[in-house]
Symmetry: C2
DNA sequence: GGCAGACGATAACATTTGTTATCAAATGCA
DNA sequence: TGCATTTGATAACAAATGTTATCGTCTGCC
């Protein structure tokens, strides 16, 4: 699982093994809630197999706003970093195989690792990249129609369209399930 | 202008003065374009007086997506950091007094300053905070009606409502100017 | 002072999107 | 296998929002 990341980290084997031993492997069924609204996040997850959605309750309707797949790490970032009650629920969509690490271990690793200039730069790059991704996603809400957002999604993240139930995608795109059906139907009709 | 920031930086006066001497003061009229779409951003601005909007052209309509006021720093972040052609235009709304610094100076300062643990943590915090702000703004597009977004804006950033022409606010909220007028009119009527 | 352009309100109409209800197909599970 | 649940399509209607056009006011500027 971790081998694929090994060469990005200029650490000796002892440190490296020490770090990856902090992770624990679990297997969970679909619809497992990994973090509930209002909880304070203590775990960071990495997905070996499966997928996860992050959503929140908006006046009784659930609104999905992120999807994660294999090899991605997942947490309610704001809650994990700042110890705020999580505004979101983290939940598996498919039966999944996950690795998790406790926040106190993660903090310790980060504190050590950030002294290494190269890793620090990687870390800062990741933070920038995350902001850019949000900006981009946000842009598309301002400028694109729901139909265009759906087309973008198929183009840019086909995994989501293929693996995720459609009603989750609808709320991710900011439309009702009925309307997403209409959008798909119109697209097929035009061909 | 820079005194207000002085105590946050554990630097000796020589370094500090050296850094702030990299900034240059300019006065510009309203509707001055500081960075155009497609340009690569070389300057970071700090606003002493005035306000700035960041917008982009979407099929002939301009869409505003950020406002900045006194004491805030402004750049097309993605362009400034990654040297990409800017997707956005940076433009003054009011006649403004600005301080700017060239990217090559900023990079040098950052490289020096990031070795200081305390400043590095501040820097990382700013990056996190920026991401959280985007998430929050984005959330409100998914979950709130345009009316609610307008109410939030009045509550959270009254400066914008007070100082910025309404048609810019409309595109910032993701509605047409006509609809924003309707929203305001309904709110007044209900009182 | 007067003029051009920017700004904002409003009306009428068009289009998009949401809501509710119903049905069919697929899926999971006992 | 068979039943309950989930998922998705569609229709009919309601509500929200966009578009175009018109008008009045304000503002900066010569």
């Amino acid at each position: 699982m971790f081998d694929q990341f090994r060469d990005r980290f200029p650490l000796d084997d002892q440190h490296w093994n020490n770090y990856i031993n902090c992770f624990e492997r679990i297997e969970v069924p679909a619809k497992t809630i990994l973090l509930n609204e209002g909880e304070i996040s203590k775990k960071l997850f990495i997905i070996e197999k499966g997928c996860i959605r992050v959503w929140f309750n908006n006046n009784g309707k659930d609104v999905t706003f992120q999807f994660f797949f294999e090899n991605q790490s997942v947490a309610s970032l704001e809650s994990f970093v700042k110890k705020f009650p999580s505004p979101v629920v983290v939940e598996t969509i498919e039966p999944s195989v996950l690795w998790w690490i406790h926040k106190k271990d993660m903090d310790r690793i980060l504190a050590e690792v950030i002294e290494i200039a190269q890793l620090r730069d990687q870390f800062i790059n990741v933070l920038f990249q995350r902001t850019f991704d949000y900006m981009k996603h946000f842009f598309s809400f301002i400028k694109d129609s729901p139909t265009q957002r759906y087309l973008n999604l198929m183009e840019e993240k086909p995994q989501i369209v293929q693996r995720v139930p459609q009603h989750y995608i609808a709320s991710y795109l900011g439309v009702s399930t009925v309307h997403l059906s209409r959008i798909k139907s119109k697209l097929v009709h035009k061909k």
